[in-house]
């Protein structure tokens, strides 16, 4: 049986992106079936422009250098890698409607769905995480 990992990404700053994509790529590299549901500010993490310029939390800007020194991959690289490893991205339709966003604002290869789409996957998940 494949291990299933379900992740909800509900926040849109740089730290959130690393938490989400690091866990997702590590899980996928360990042969888990991974789906991430991006909702509310979490949509920033897969937005074409926003994902390349995610802000650090206020007062934590000095960590920018730490990220550079630690040679941590950039978020767009982690996105590409996640997709290459078969991680499935679902953007929340309702949030997109509220924010007036269309599917082409996001990186290629995503699906758009509602809460039930995610729940259908998550109900059989072995690991469920919310960031």
């Amino acid at each position: 049986m494949t291990t299933r990992t379900a992740i909800i990404a509900a926040n849109g700053e740089l730290f959130d992106a690393y938490k989400v994509f690091n866990i997702a790529t590590a899980a996928a590299a360990s042969e888990h079936e991974v789906t991430i549901f991006f909702t509310f500010e979490g949509l920033n993490l897969i937005h074409k422009q926003a994902s390349a310029n995610l802000p650090l939390p206020e007062g934590k800007e000095h960590f920018a250098e730490g990220f550079k020194n630690a040679n941590v991959p950039a978020i767009p690289e982690l996105i590409a890698m996640s997709q290459e490893l078969g991680v499935k991205f679902i953007a929340c339709q309702m949030t997109m409607d509220v924010m007036g966003l269309e599917v082409d604002a996001f990186v290629d290869g995503i699906e758009v769905g509602g809460a039930v789409t995610f729940l259908e996957f998550a109900k059989e998940a072995d690991v469920t995480l919310t960031f």
Binding site: N22, T25, A26, A29, S30, E31, N71, P73, L85
Partner: protein
């Protein structure tokens, strides 16, 4: 950079990249092949070990050289059961042996670059990753002295040889790190 078919250089990469790269590298290998992963991410030891266990590969161990971690994995194998401990020969006794008998069969299992830098004169060179495919070059009836940098890789090589019917094996511990006698550069 040490580059062989079975060495992955993941130095300088942060989590989760060493794992992602290791997965990719091991996909290209055949069952039983040994992969050496070089990493500087200190968390990679625990991660590689956990990943190997859940992915069905054997984690053979990690050798530390300076700030570089050398992780050794064997594709699609359960953890190697050491049925037969490979006898350890301490370096001092080994030095005496070498001085007595110049025709000793010494097998250096380190990688190409390490061997080129310095090795014991007349030592044969078979990197750990090639032991399985090249063990026919060795004579089962001879005493064989295995050496690497610290004794870790030579121990693994010894287990592989013992599994294939080699009997008279000695693992030299520690290895080249503390060898102070004559060495040779190049081939």
């Amino acid at each position: 950079m040490i580059e062989t078919a079975h060495t992955l250089d993941a130095k300088g990469l942060a989590c989760p990249m060493p794992i992602v790269r290791t997965r990719k590298a091991i996909q290209g290998l055949s069952p039983g092949d040994v992969l050496e992963v070089l990493a500087t991410d200190k968390g990679s030891t625990a991660d590689i070990k956990a990943w190997a266990t859940s992915s069905g590969h054997a984690y053979l161990g990690t050798e530390i050289e300076g700030n570089v971690l050398h992780h050794f994995l064997k594709k699609d194998s359960a953890l190697i059961e050491v049925k037969e401990e490979i006898p350890v020969m301490d370096l001092e006794s080994f030095v005496r042996k070498v001085e007595e008998d110049r025709s000793l069969t010494i097998v250096d299992v380190r990688e190409e670059q390490e061997y080129q830098e310095e090795h014991i004169p007349d030592a044969l060179h078979i990197p750990l990753s090639e032991i399985e495919s090249r063990m026919h070059e060795l004579n089962k009836s001879e005493d064989i002295y295995l050496i690497c940098q610290t004794g870790r890789r030579s121990g693994i090589a010894g287990i592989q040889l013992a599994e294939n019917g080699f009997k008279n094996l000695y693992n030299v511990v520690p290895g080249m790190t503390e060898w102070t006698k004559q060495t040779k550069k190049g081939n």
